[in-house]
Amino acid sequence: MSGNQPPAPATAERQTLDGALLVRAGNGDQRAAQELVRLLLPRLLGYARRVLGDSAEAEDVVQETLLRLWRVAPEWRQGEAQVSTWAYRVAVNLCTDRLRARKPGVALESAPEPEDERASAAAEMTIRARLVALDAALAELPERQRQAVVLRHIEELSNPEIAGIMDISVEAVESLTARGKRALAALLSGQKDALGYEDDRE
């Protein structure tokens, strides 16, 4: 994202703000719609890109998610549901459809270069290697595990939020994330030296 994004508000405050903006957007307030796009976009795009491993497909998912959001906006009642949960749920379902439609063995695009130009070249290479390895390992997971792990550990949503988004119980979320992490750990084992994460723990 560009550097002029507003700071992210706290969760409860953010949810109230999202709802208020959507109600205003549903009444035709274009400025509110634009503000809501800029609040939701980093989260939705980050999630979709990490799960799909493809920026163009991730953009398509986000665009379709927002179009569906605008369709329900005129009837949206603040407090009845959380906008981000609703949007994530649509994005998760759209990603699931795309993952199921894929033929096995579709190559993931390589992760983009990290943004921080101040980092040393070696550190940049390490971070990039970690991202590539993580994306490759995530692609090996069953789709539900992949989605749960990304929502929990990268998007940092709570287990109850993820349960609402994926329409499963909190226990099922815990099970998916635990199994997903075990599988990731197994897939990434043997790359400690190459990825340099032992250094982070010193």
Binding site: M1, N27, L41, S55, A58, L131, L134, A185, R201
Partner: protein, 119 residues
């Protein structure tokens, strides 16, 4: 990376890298999303929602109907009971001084009478 505690610590470096790897959003993509919002959302903020063409054509009908009804009622009252039309009307105010008194405050009236008496 076999034990749970160890897994958490080792994976955290990967998750942290992913959390910091926020996607670049192109200006073109953002413009596309804004255009979608503009095309999909109602354009009625701060004003009444425009009615369909045929409804706009007949929008004057209720107001015109009320005016016609009020006029008809007045005409009917005038023909049926003309004395009602005169009660409280200008026809009862034949005295010129009374006309004047109706529009002057009491203090001004006193001055008027003083002039008439030559005082």
């Amino acid at each position: 990376m076999t034990g749970n505690k160890s897994d958490d610590g080792d994976l955290e470096a990967f998750f942290q890298a992913a959390r910091e790897d926020r996607p670049e959003v192109s200006a073109a993509f953002l413009a596309r999303l804004d255009a979608d919002a503009e095309a999909s959302l109602p354009q009625t903020y701060g004003m009444a929602r425009p009615a369909p063409g045929w409804r706009q054509f007949f929008a004057w009908a209720p107001a015109a109907g009320g005016l016609v009804a009020a006029t008809a009622a007045g005409v009917w009252i005038g023909f049926a009971t003309p004395e009602l039309a005169e009660i409280g009307g200008i026809a009862t105010l034949s005295d010129e001084s009374l006309d004047l008194a109706l529009f002057l405050p009491a203090s001004d009236l006193a001055i008027l009478f003083e002039d008439e008496n030559g005082l």
